[in-house]
């Protein structure tokens, strides 16, 4: 082994030994940014919740401090649902009516049983709830950790119990995603991503973060977000998405870097798409050797979405290009070669069942 290879190998090995707690580092950096802000005499606005955090992002330094501090990470079920303090009106931009009477859907059935409203809140992991009886009618509000309203269910008295009459919940049937300021951009969207579960021992390069975004639960609550990572695996690229509750793996081929590959079905977890649609198209090319310079998607009106690029020193020059666009409005997807030549061919869906390897 020559000296160059020996040095490169030793440095790579030494670097891997240095464990970094990114979340801790983010918190400390947030502290430092906040301190700098205070030292400058400017007010620091506290981040209150996911939506407010997104709005506050326009206030540059304070918002960055809030993001680094991770104050937006309020997801995850509370250990004990907390009665009270649920707002009475919706702050989410879209709501949908839920059929709780015909039995046609079973994703959200807030039936009041012996456990009462606390049991319903527990079943749907609602951090907060509020139950009001008014004669023969009652209302149950399930709320997020910050007190924002997730759903309202009304009941009428029936015998010695309550029968659901109607329910309205945050979200739409068009998408499980919580609206964000820049939903077509891959990256973080208000929550610190989960750590990658792709161990470097089992992949041929470091895993790289692509995206994290929150979804509405069927109850209208915002209690989950998913993180997406990629890492080289042999001649292909493996995707890990759906943290912390599930994983979907696809294999992006490297031998056809000029043909866009359709990975739209990895954008949301399969369970979140039951009865809902995925409005996003996500296309990618995995280029091991500099064949490609960019990937882009053409929309109506001459609008062109450009790809984002992901790589890592451990990928040895390989690059992943990903473009996200409204699925319905996308007319074409094309790769651009290093020489600048556009190659427009029908994207190939690579997320389905692979009989050769059971994937």
């Amino acid at each position: 082994m020559n000296i160059e290879d020996r040095v490169a190998r030793a440095l790579a090995s030494e670097a891997e030994r240095i464990d970094v707690d990114v979340e801790e580092l983010r918190a400390r950096t947030g502290d430092r940014l906040t301190a700098a802000r205070v030292a400058e005499g400017a007010p620091v606005r506290p981040a209150r919740g996911p939506l407010l955090l997104a709005v506050a992002a326009s206030v540059a330094l304070a918002a960055a401090a809030a993001v680094f501090l991770g104050t937006g990470d309020r997801l995850g079920p509370a250990t004990d649902p907390d009665p009270g303090d649920v707002e009475s009106t919706f702050s989410c931009p879209v709501q949908r009516d839920i059929d709780v009477t015909s039995g046609a859907q079973d994703e959200f059935l807030p039936r009041l049983g012996r456990g009462g409203p606390a049991a319903v809140a527990d079943e749907y992991h609602a951090p907060r709830w509020d139950f009001v009886e008014d004669g023969s009618r009652a209302t149950l509000r399930l709320g997020n950790d910050d007190g924002s309203l997730g759903s309202i269910t009304t009941y009428r008295a029936a015998g010695d119990g309550w029968t659901p009459v109607s329910a309205i919940a945050c979200g739409s049937s068009d998408t499980p995603g919580v609206p964000t300021r820049d939903e077509l951009r891959l990256g973080t969207h208000g929550y610190p991503p989960y750590k990658s579960s792709m161990s470097p021992r089992f992949y041929d390069g470091a895993s790289v973060f692509l995206d994290d975004r929150a979804v509405y639960d069927y109850s209208g609550l915002v209690i989950r977000h998913r993180s997406m990572y990629v890492a080289p695996c042999g001649a292909r690229l493996c995707w890990d998405t759906g943290r912390p509750t599930s994983m979907v793996t696809a294999r992006l081929r490297a031998d056809v870097p000029t043909i866009a590959q359709d990975v739209s079905s990895l954008f949301f977890e399969p369970d979140d798409l039951v009865g809902r649609a995925n409005p996003f198209g996500m296309w990618a090319v995995w280029d091991p050797d500099g064949t490609v310079r960019a990937l882009r998607a053409g929309l109506g009106g001459g609008v062109v979405r450009q790809s984002q690029t992901f790589t890592d020193p451990s990928w040895r020059g390989a690059v992943l290009y990903v473009v996200v666009a409204p699925r319905a409005g996308t007319r074409w997807v094309e790769a651009v070669t290093a020489a600048g030549k556009p190659v427009r061919r029908a994207p190939e869906d690579v997320t389905g069942y692979e009989p050769d390897n059971g994937g």
Binding site: I3, E14, I18, V20, L25, A64, T309, P313
Partner: protein, 168 residues
Amino acid sequence: MTARQGAPNAEPPDFEALFVAHARRVVRLAALLGAADPEDLAQEAFCRLYQARDRLDGTPERTVAYLNRIVVNEVRSRARRDQTARRSAHLLPVPRAEDGDVGDRQAVIEELSRLPLRQREAIVLRFWLDLSLADVADAMEVRLGTAKSQVSRGLAALARALTDEEQS
């Protein structure tokens, strides 16, 4: 990892994504360059990058290159402030208790820690970050020829030291 827009005129850097993408790499770079407290240095680097955001042209390559320069400069600056403790603990010589790859890593890292700071920078940037010589020069804020000579001298010194050690 590098996250960058494919468009020539990209949007201003998304610091949250930038932080997530590069935090681990920045800490490791600081450590390999010999920072006594690489995590503290990484915090400082990201704060400085943020404070300089208005001066960045928004292209991801330039942003990452600027971040590398901040790290290199900050390591130098701290080394100057504290000449007596410029080696991080993990770069200090360690007992040679292991054979094979682990022993070789220890030997290389130990000799690396003995190189002059500029040579160490050049070696780490070239062989760990896999930067081109032009990018090494950019990160070190030196001319291309200087970067080449620092890499060359560093490699030669390492080869000499490792050969001497194996023969002794």
